[in-house]
Amino acid sequence: MIKNFDFDVITGSIPFLWKGLQVSFYLTFLALVGGIVFGTLLALMRISNIKFLKYFSMTYVNFLRSMPLILVIFWFFFLIPVIIGRPIGGFYSAVIAFTMFEAAYYSEIIRAGLLSVSSNQISAARATGLSYSQSMIYVILPQAFRNMVPILLTQAVVLFQDTSLVYVVSLRDFMTASSIVAQSQSRLVEMYLFAALVYFSICFAFSFMIKRIQNRKVTT
């Protein structure tokens, strides 16, 4: 078995695979930023006193969380051209789909983070004359985010793995690139094992770093 392995397939397609990996990273980064921004909005809506915003956020989050990611990707690839009248390209459709999907998960993390900041802080901030939005922006959110860093980063690793699902719409990320090489050279075993090794090393190293950050926070 092992002696039949052809590693030249891998070395020969490194530039192509590297391009794919860059797409994966870029997609992860944009969806991460978008997901956190939109997720924060959803979380703030969820804890606000305005009923409409509260229920909108609740419905959105529960709805998205009970749908498979692939179905969400299909939905957005179908909906975006219908709504705005023209296609905007696979990459940006994927960014939008992942942002909307991840926002639902991030908002739950961020909401828990917001609730972990004592409610006295809001009263204190309001007492010093800050408005509600000022006290959120300058007092509550910074503290909440500091508590959330490890979980948000862990979720980023999950997101990085999830981006491989753009395979279903043939966007050329690392997963799709590996699969293209595997199929065209008929070297499925080598390529998929190699891809697994790459994903594993990246995710494992990153998770290890997150653990270090977490431990440092505990000791200080």
Binding site: M1, S66, L71, S164, Y167, V189, A195, A196, Y199, C203
Partner: protein, 239 residues
């Protein structure tokens, strides 16, 4: 926005049958994978709480491997790579004689992957039972096996019902990944209807409604089970 609505397409016999058979495949796959995940995951989770270095590391390695490789890639590895790596006779049997290879690969993939997540829940459940309980168990003369089966696990499982529920719902959603190796489950079927009829809105709505309603149903049932199986004093009462 221009779109020709045609909800009746969902009730044309051919497409209606697709939705039903897609839903059934999704359910078969999720239920069978959940069962594998529950038993394998419990075993791995128990390994990680035992006082045995080798079993401990087996558990840790298992969890790290399955957690750090994208599920889609695991699906491909089970389907395309696994039959090539096992002894030739067995590999040929897998490739040629095994009925419905897409289903079996997807089942193995989802079962083993979810087991790694269930293992983490089981471990944290066992660890959350106070140490005194374990010591008390040993003091009455129970063996480690008896301690786990009669004392620790019954308590731990009750504690982790909510996170376990969400793991099973995750399997249910993850089962859609089986479409990448050609299993025609619900998401695949709705995408096919979209391709054949261009009624994407109707097709995806049908799939969405089915996913959301099954999720809601399972959540309700598990809440019932949770409140029925509560042990006073061991599980925090909801405020």
């Amino acid at each position: 926005m221009k779109y020709n609505w045609n909800w009746s397409v969902l009730f044309e016999p051919q497409y209606f049958d697709w939705i039903i058979s897609g839903t059934l495949w999704t359910l078969y796959l999720s239920i069978a994978a959940s069962l594998i995940a529950f038993f394998l995951g419990s075993l791995i989770g128990i390994f990680r709480t035992l006082d045995n270095k080798i079993l401990n590391s087996i558990g840790t390695i298992y969890v790290e491997i399955f957690r750090n490789i994208p599920l889609l890639l695991q699906m491909f590895i089970w389907y395309f790579v696994f039959p090539e790596l096992v002894p030739e006779n067995f590999g040929n049997w897998l490739k040629q004689d095994l009925p419905n290879p897409e289903f079996s690969s997807a089942l193995l993939c989802l079962g083993t992957y979810t087991a790694s997540r269930v293992a983490e829940q089981v471990r944290s459940g066992i660890n959350s039972v106070s140490n005194g309980v374990g010591s008390a168990g040993y003091a009455t003369g129970l063996t480690t096996y008896q301690l786990y089966v009669y004392i620790l696990l019954p308590i731990a499982y009750r504690i982790i019902i909510p996170p376990l529920t969400s793991e099973f719902l995750t399997v249910f959603k993850n089962s859609s990944l089986a479409l990448t190796i050609g299993l025609l489950e619900l998401t695949a079927r709705s995408n096919m209807i979209m391709d054949w009829t261009f009624q994407g809105f109707e097709a995806f709505t049908a799939a969405t409604v089915i996913y959301v309603s099954i999720t809601m149903m399972v959540t309700l049932i598990m809440q019932k089970i949770e409140s029925k199986s509560k042990i006073p004093g061991f599980i925090r009462e909801k405020a």
